[in-house]
């Protein structure tokens, strides 16, 4: 059963008077537990694809099945609920809340998942999550007191706190040096292998993409190539 199935996905933006076609018919199947890298030059539509896959945006046309649910036509609130329970995001610029301790950043998704966790339950779950990523001693540090790699790991902890099935990462290593980048990619690989997390990583660096098991290459809003690592 396909975890993600998109058919003929199209997205058109109106930039002023001009219509920009970001996606011109993308079809893609991503199985449960796959580690996929989406690469392509800027303007190829990979960010737009990720926004639609992450239910932050809706396609102009085409169909998107997440699990068995058609999510291409659902309401904004239903999309928010999907983002809360099934999808985790990791961003290039980490996007941690400033002036907020790491542990509170990790707790943030728990405030919106509709669950009835008490304050102390939320705190202990966030601390556990940070510990599993080796950040126990950084729990009370504010983002500006953490290194880039540490910030990205806090962001990953935040993305994982609601135990989503799908993790989407938009240029997760774009702001990191190569050593830290390798560590983060290693972390992703472990999460994929140990927890069976479906991972979709967007990058424009081929060596980062090669950490994944499958590479989808976009160009001008269409899939140019799609295959396991090493095949192309």
């Amino acid at each position: 059963m396909a975890k993600i199935s998109v058919r003929d996905l199209k997205k058109t933006y109106a930039v002023g008077e001009v219509e920009v076609e970001a996606l011109r018919g993308v079809s893609l199947e991503i199985e449960d537990g796959e580690f996929v890298a989406v690469i392509g030059p800027s303007g190829s539509g990979k960010s737009t694809l990720m926004h639609i896959l992450g239910c932050l945006d809706r396609p102009t046309s085409g169909r998107y099945l997440l699990g068995e649910k058609d999510v291409s036509e659902i309401s904004p609130d239903e999309r928010a609920s999907l983002r809360s329970r099934q999808i985790g995001f990791v961003f290039q610029s980490f996007n941690l809340l400033p002036r907020t301790p790491a542990v509170e950043n990790v707790e943030l998704p728990l405030l919106y998942n509709g669950g009835k966790l008490s304050r102390s339950q939320r705190r202990s779950r966030a601390l556990e999550m940070l510990a599993s990523l080796g950040l126990s001693d950084r729990a009370l540090h504010h983002p500006n007191q953490l290194s880039g790699g540490q910030q990205q790991r806090v962001a990953i902890a935040r993305a994982l706190i609601n135990s989503p099935g799908l993790l989407l990462a938009d240029e997760p290593t774009g702001n990191l040096d190569s050593q830290t980048s390798r560590e983060i990619m290693e972390l992703f690989r472990r999460l994929n292998q140990e927890r069976g997390l479906t991972l979709v990583i967007i990058t424009h660096e081929r060596n980062i993409a090669e950490c994944a098991s499958r590479i989808v290459e976009l160009r001008d809003g269409t899939v140019e190539s799609d295959g396991p690592v090493g095949a192309s």
Partner: protein, 490 residues
């Protein structure tokens, strides 16, 4: 949950939160202080009107116009509002009729040397002879108390007496009166001890309340004589209280009949002097506007009770406090003319006076409140501005919240609640600040301030309303943000 999120948002920007709170608190506090000062001024004006006795009606035994000379023109009850020329007509006769009575007053004994004001000094010659006739009784007082529009009634027996305390003595005014007197004389305050009680009145006990001037003369300034004994007519009286002026603008003075005086139960005087009549009955009307009506009703009642024929003159005199104040110390003939025309004068002048005072205090109030509202508005605009800026500045935060599963309404609720919390907490701080500042103002400047619970509730409501308005637009803006745009925002 939303509350928690809003609180953490406020906590994150501590300085900004503190400044917004401060702005709003100052605004609310300002409103409270100015309304408090305005109210206080308004109330003290009203108190002064009331203390001046505009609602007091005094019934005195006897009617000097008839005393000793029955031939002078009698005023029929319907001619009570005599035009001025009627009054001038009988001038000489009235004057000659009065002179012996005044001289005959025991206080004016030429052999007696005294260092105190005489009754004539106190009351004016015109009234020195009044109250001597034995025509008023306690039953009259009880009947007056049942009239509609009457608030309080106090019987009065008035004498002049020497009061002794040890070696010291003071010749002063002795008022035998009722327990209701403190309610009638709003300008009085029992500064030490208490006024005598219903029980002491009923049992005609020998208790006395000293006017502050008498206290000063017999004891010492600021001495507390409560519990001490003074001697009156060779009888020992226990001091139970001291009465003083309630208003610093009108302190007691020697010879003023109010604070240079002692107060005892009228029943005690009745018992000691073996008499039953009253010299005066003091009546208050429930409202200032009804004084003339009540005075007329009192006159009609007493005429009926005393079985006075329609053509016969009153055997008592009804004056309003205002007429007494106006005629005090005047030549009796002028006084009579004035008093005769006072009901008209009173209606016009007193109503106008109180209306003018009312109007000017309202104007002042409006001015103060509008200044205060402007400052509150500034505080409110400040909060609105901060919240709007906050939405812009925290666009990325909003994007992050949306990406981790917040719905648009969660984000809206957060910003709305943040503003509302600022309003609620700032309002509380403002109320406290306002109450504190009002107290400070009244203590350091001696101004009367008055804050009613209603004013506090309203200004707190305004603070909340500011929070609601200042929160609504930023919240709507935050809720309408597109998640992708918000995440990309630099």
């Amino acid at each position: 949950m939303s509350l928690e999120i809003a609180l953490s948002g406020l906590k994150r920007y501590r300085l900004r939160t503190a400044l917004s709170l401060f702005g709003l608190a100052i605004g609310v506090g300002c409103v409270l202080v100015t309304v408090g000062i305005g109210n206080g001024a308004h109330r003290s004006i009203q108190n002064q009107i009331r203390a001046a006795g505009l609602n007091v009606i005094l019934v005195k035994a006897g009617n000097y116009k008839t005393k000793g000379d029955e031939t002078i023109e009698v005023q029929a009850p319907h001619a009570r509002l005599a035009p001025i020329f009627d009054g001038l007509d009988g001038l000489d006769r009235v004057f000659s009729a009065l002179t012996p009575a005044v001289l005959a007053h025991p206080e004016n004994d030429p052999m007696e040397k005294h260092d105190h004001p005489t009754a004539a000094d106190r009351l004016g010659d015109a009234e020195a002879g009044l109250g001597a006739a034995a025509t008023l009784t306690q039953e009259d007082a009880d009947a007056i108390a049942k009239l509609p529009g009457v608030a309080d009634v106090a019987s009065g027996v008035h004498e002049n007496a020497k009061v002794f305390a040890g070696e010291r003595r003071w010749f002063t005014r002795l008022h035998g009166t009722d327990v209701d007197l403190p309610r009638i004389r709003r300008a009085h305050v029992v500064s030490m001890g208490r006024f005598f009680s219903e029980r002491e009145l009923r049992r005609a006990e020998q208790v006395v309340v000293l006017g502050s001037i008498v206290r000063d003369k017999l004891f010492a300034s600021d001495a507390d004589p409560v519990g001490d004994e003074v001697t009156l007519w060779n009888q020992s009286f226990r001091v139970v209280g001291v009465t003083a002026s309630a208003n610093w603008m009108t302190p007691g003075a020697v010879g003023d009949d109010e604070f240079d005086a002692v107060y005892v139960p009228f029943t005690t005087i009745h018992r000691l002097l073996n008499v039953t009549n009253l010299n005066t009955i003091t009546v208050t009307a429930e409202s200032t506007g009804e004084v003339s009506k009540v005075a007329a009703a009192v006159t009609d009642l007493l005429r009926a009770r005393h079985r006075i024929a329609d053509t016969a003159p009153d055997d008592f005199t009804v004056v309003t406090q205002a007429s007494e104040v106006l005629t005090k110390g005047l030549h009796p003939n002028v006084a009579r003319v004035l008093a005769g025309n006072l009901p008209n004068l009173e209606r016009v002048t007193l109503e106008e006076l109180s209306m003018t005072l009312e109007r000017s205090s309202r104007t002042m109030m409006a001015l103060l409140v509008s200044i205060a509202l402007v400052s509150l508005l500034v505080g409110g605009v400040g909060i609105g501005n901060v919240m709007l800026l906050s939405v812009t500045e925290r666009t990325r935060e909003i994007g992050v919240r949306l990406s981790v599963g917040a719905r648009a309404r969660d984000v809206g609720a957060q910003f709305f609640l943040e503003a509302l919390l600022l309003g609620a907490v700032g309002g509380v701080a403002g109320v406290l600040l306002g109450i504190l500042a009002s107290r400070l103002v009244s203590e350091s400047f001696g101004w009367t301030t008055s804050l009613s619970p209603g004013v506090v509730v309203v200004s707190y409501g305004i603070a909340i309303a500011i929070g609601l308005v200042a929160g609504f637009f930023p919240a709507r803006r935050a809720a309408r943000l597109d998640p992708i745009e918000a995440l990309r925002y630099e």
